[in-house]
């Protein structure tokens, strides 16, 4: 029982937001204590989608756990695949061929484009009542889904990255199709962006709302666009690089506070908009780096890392750092797996930020954090 229920005063109201609420993007519940329209306390109630993926990992062998990582964050499954593969490779000391690394970065960034495009930016608009940009973004997402479906046969839960490389080589005409998509998308993105960012209503709803200070962001372990919107230039791709990211040229956009306060909802939106442009730039560079070669290393059928070694390795997923803590026990199965996700950290700050907000602003705030329910609960 939540402690909020027992401490209610007579002029206060207890409001249940969720578990089925259009703005929560999945099954999430918030217990709100409100005074009129103003939230005085908020308690997120998570766990509705808890499937104990960490326990499943202890029962599966290392390659067999790969499909489950898709379900951690179904909107950015490629990044989750990559994070897990990287952790096992570091644990077992497996080298990945160069072509596989380039393909991984291409698919990661394509995934980031559709994830930020359709959900991070598009769904933020939809939560505030602007459905059109969301549908435009979903149309672009379909193209990427088709391209990736040709690559690995799946549209959302890819299961494409393998320990030591990737599953298949690129199909014929992949490079041309991706180039054609990017040429089209760059223009479409500016159009979607004009519909949202330049809209006065959209701006007014987001500016000076839900301002997270840099100190809070670091203390609460926020990652990804939410952290960068507070003006802190931190990105796993740059600070602890993996794959071929050190060779690539890209900027890390940070919040500037030009329109509102530094670290408000609008800054988070702008950071995502700019990150998509950077991802387009990265994919274009990677397409030039593709050279013929093997796409998967020679990996033993039963991967047995040294006993009682443990690793924490992270990648930059669309929602920030996604890390896997793995401990081996000398057999083909992990002893312990802990998944660290960006949404979990972002949820933990809501109860701190919510007091004093209007209920409608809380919806905008949650949408701008871009949390995904299965990623919180795992």
């Amino acid at each position: 029982m939540s402690s909020l229920v027992t401490q209610l005063k007579s002029d206060e109201m207890l409001l249940n937001m969720g578990p089925q609420h259009p703005s929560t993007h999945g099954v999430l519940r918030f217990i709100l204590k409100t005074d009129g329209e103003i939230v005085t306390a908020c308690e997120p109630d998570v766990g509705f989608l808890h499937r104990s993926i960490e326990k499943i990992c202890e029962k599966c062998d290392y390659p067999g756990f790969m499909p489950y990582t898709d379900r951690v964050d179904y909107l950015a499954a490629m990044n989750a695949n990559h994070a897990y593969a990287l952790a096992v490779e570091r644990l077992a000391g497996i080298e990945v061929p160069r072509r596989a690394q380039v393909i991984r970065v291409i698919t990661d960034e394509l995934n980031r484009i559709i994830c930020h495009g359709a959900i991070g930016v598009g769904a933020l608009g939809m939560d505030l009542g602007a459905a059109t940009p969301f549908l435009h973004a979903m149309r672009e997402r379909e193209t990427v889904n088709d391209i990736i479906e040709e690559l690995c046969g799946a549209r959302l839960t890819y299961n494409y990255v393998r320990i030591g490389g990737v599953w298949f080589d690129l199909p014929d005409g992949f490079v041309e199709k991706v180039t054609a998509f990017l040429n089209h998308f760059e223009l479409a993105w500016e159009e979607i962006n004009r519909l949202l960012t330049d809209s006065v209503i959209f701006r007014t709803r987001l500016m000076n709302v839900g301002t997270i200070t840099a100190g809070d962001a670091v203390s609460y372990g926020l990652v990804g666009p939410v952290l960068r919107a507070t003006g802190i230039k931190r990105d796993v791709r740059r600070d602890q690089p993996y794959a071929i990211y050190p060779e690539l040229e890209f900027d890390i956009p940070v919040g500037t506070g030009t329109f509102g306060t530094l670290g408000d909802c609008f800054d988070r939106h702008l950071v995502r908009v700019e990150e998509v442009r950077q991802s387009v730039k990265i994919v274009r560079q990677c397409l030039k780096l593709l050279e013929p070669g093997p796409v998967i290393a020679k990996v033993p059928k039963n991967i047995k890392p040294p006993a009682w070694a443990d690793v924490y390795s992270a990648v930059e997923a669309p929602r920030g750092e996604m890390g896997f803590y793995l401990m081996s026990n000398g057999t083909g199965k992990a002893h312990r797996c802990k998944i660290r996700t960006g949404s979990f950290a972002a949820m933990s700050i809501i109860s701190r930020m919510a007091p004093g907000m209007m209920i409608a602003d809380l919806v905008a705030f949650i949408a701008s954090l871009d949390v995904v329910a299965p990623e919180i609960d795992r």
Partner: protein, 206 residues
């Protein structure tokens, strides 16, 4: 900064209050010898000292090691009959990762909470309490987070067994493999063409 120099720096700073992990480990770690006394102090120094500046708590991951009989040829687990509470600290300035482990008695796993140092620890420690039963002393809000309040046991412990039912809902069921095997056994000797047991049919004819 590479792993070796980080471990040297940490061991020079804290001396025999900590035990350094092997250098071959993919991610460097230290074990605090007396977590009740030293853990908070050491983590605070790691956070605030500009030489380390581990400003960011990535995650808290507890591990469970039940007591086992040693098997031949296999290296023994690091602490049979113990739990470890591992705090993963990261420094973006230096690009380093360090895991700070505290070894706890499995039957009475108490460890000081890091919630006073990192806001992120509040939820991460709640999750470890929920799933592994580690008790974080001084935590402001130590409740279950993923599972319902009236759930019994901590599922990520190695010796956890599922409760039969939760509020009248059955939680376990026969596996499909077992059901199939049982059905095969039940229909043994049954003649499907004649609609009766093969033995019974013979007696009827004779």
């Amino acid at each position: 900064m590479d792993k070796k120099s980080l471990l040297e720096m940490v061991s020079a700073r804290f001396g025999d209050r900590i035990e350094c992990g092997p250098e071959a480990n993919p991610t460097p770690f230290i074990i605090v010898r007396n977590p009740q006394k030293d853990l908070l102090d050491i983590v605070k120094t790691l956070r605030d000292d500009s030489g380390f500046s581990f400003k960011y708590l990535a995650t808290v991951a507890a591990t469970d090691h039940p007591p086992v009989s040693e098997k031949k040829g296999e290296p023994p687990p690091p602490g049979p009959g113990h739990q470890f509470s591992t705090a993963v600290l990261k420094s973006y300035e230096h690009g380093t990762t360090l895991m700070v482990k505290a070894k706890l008695d499995r039957n009475n796993p108490h460890v000081p909470s890091l919630a006073g140092l990192y806001g992120a620890a509040i939820w991460h420690e709640r999750e470890q309490y929920d799933l592994l039963g580690v008790i974080y002393d001084g935590h402001p809000d130590l409740r279950r987070i993923m599972l319902p309040d009236d759930w019994t046991g901590h599922p990520l412990r190695k010796d956890w067994t599922e409760q039969d039912n939760y509020r009248g809902i059955q939680t376990t069921r026969e596996s499909m493999h077992d059901i199939f095997a049982r059905r095969v056994k039940e229909t043994e000797g049954y003649d499907f063409r004649r609609g009766g047991s093969a033995a019974g049919e013979e007696t009827a004819e004779s």
